[in-house]
């Protein structure tokens, strides 16, 4: 199976090189595409200097558009699956082969690297949000996903068109629910661990976190039935 790792990077000069080195070392068979999403730091130069295969977004468009560009690339270059992989060092590349194997063996359309499939859920606010989204997805689709907010997800080729042509579909948990109800996508999880951020600041500041939760919950509970 030909797998493309899409690595969205916005101002990730501190961790990109480290992430790419470990990714290439752990998964030499996986092609990597860095999405330099209009970074204002040296992210683009790091890509050029190291010869990373990358897309330079001319302006900062955000994760959804960056991922969409990556999926278009995967579609045009005949990949069988694409995995989102964070540039900040949270995701461990060792799990990519396991995700690909699970996708093939179990005939899954989406494979999520879950932090909570084995072991305890935490009790921080972040985990409450995760449990809430998990509950809403179960309520609306009947599918149990222990870690819907995991940013490490693999999508099979048959879903590429949805992401490439979609008006408003990003690599987010609400999209998973929509793909289940509208495309009968088969979702499975593999147990995984994640590191704390290696550098930089989390994308989810309080205001953003509230916006994220509102958007995700509304989309799963309400808007997905009109799409």
């Amino acid at each position: 199976m030909k797998v493309l790792a899409i690595v969205p990077a916005y101002n990730e000069e501190e961790s990109l090189e480290r992430t790419m080195t470990s990714l290439q070392a752990a998964c030499p068979q996986v092609d990597v595409l860095v999405i330099n999403d209009g970074s204002r730091d040296a992210t683009g130069e790091i890509c050029d200097r190291n010869g990373y295969n990358h897309l330079d977004m001319p302006i900062n468009c955000g994760l959804t558009a960056g991922f969409q560009a990556g999926i278009k690339y995967a579609l045009r270059n005949g990949y069988d699956a694409a995995v989102q992989f964070d540039a900040d060092g949270q995701h461990l590349p060792e799990y990519i082969p396991a995700m690909a194997k699970a996708m093939e063996d179990e005939d899954a359309d989406i494979v999520i690297a879950s932090r909570f499939l084995e072991g305890d859920r935490g009790h921080s606010l972040r985990h409450v949000g995760n449990a809430l989204i998990s509950g809403l997805i179960r309520l609306t689709t009947g599918v149990r996903i222990t870690d819907p907010t995991s940013g490490m997800r693999m999508y099979r080729r048959n879903l590429f068109e949805d992401f490439a042509r979609g008006f408003d579909i990003g690599p987010e948990p609400d999209s998973i629910a929509i793909l289940i109800t509208q495309d009968n996508a088969r979702v499975m999880e593999v147990p995984a661990q994640m590191r704390d951020r290696a550098a930089g600041e989390s994308y989810l500041k309080p205001a953003r976190a509230i916006q994220y939760m509102a958007r995700t919950c509304l989309n799963i509970l309400f808007f997905q039935w009109f799409k």
Binding site: P58, Y73, R76, D168
Partner: protein, 118 residues
């Protein structure tokens, strides 16, 4: 409607028109988008000039005072407009994203083409 109220409507219309003219001059708005505001100002003038219109509709729709009807009508028109703007912004953002993505993909393809030639 009292005379001062009618005068305020006129002044409002003049103010909107002045705003639009200045924006057009400074290239801050295209004529196509200014049309709504010109018609909106005209509507204020018409209601100011012929308050009978407001009397008729407030009676018809059960408003106690015609000025209440004018306020409600203006709010309704602006709300519709505001929603259409939100929708247009979404579509514009989508189009901008698509263009940025295509530019990035084209640039990547060109770069790889050069590598193969060498």
């Amino acid at each position: 409607m009292s005379l001062p109220q009618r005068i305020v409507l006129f002044l409002g219309a003049v103010f909107i028109l002045a705003l639009i003219c200045s924006a057009v001059k400074k290239r801050r708005i295209q004529i196509e988008d200014s049309l709504f505001w010109v018609f909106f100002a005209a509507l204020l003038v018409v209601i100011g000039a012929f308050p009978q219109i407001a009397y008729f509709f407030s009676h018809l729709l059960g408003f106690i005072s015609p000025s209440n009807f004018v306020f409600a009508a203006v709010i309704a028109v602006l709300l519709v407009r505001e929603f259409r703007n939100s929708s247009k912004i979404s579509v514009l953002r989508y189009r901008l994203d698509q263009l940025a993505e295509e530019v990035a993909l084209d640039k990547n393809e060109d770069g790889r083409g050069r590598d193969h030639d060498q």
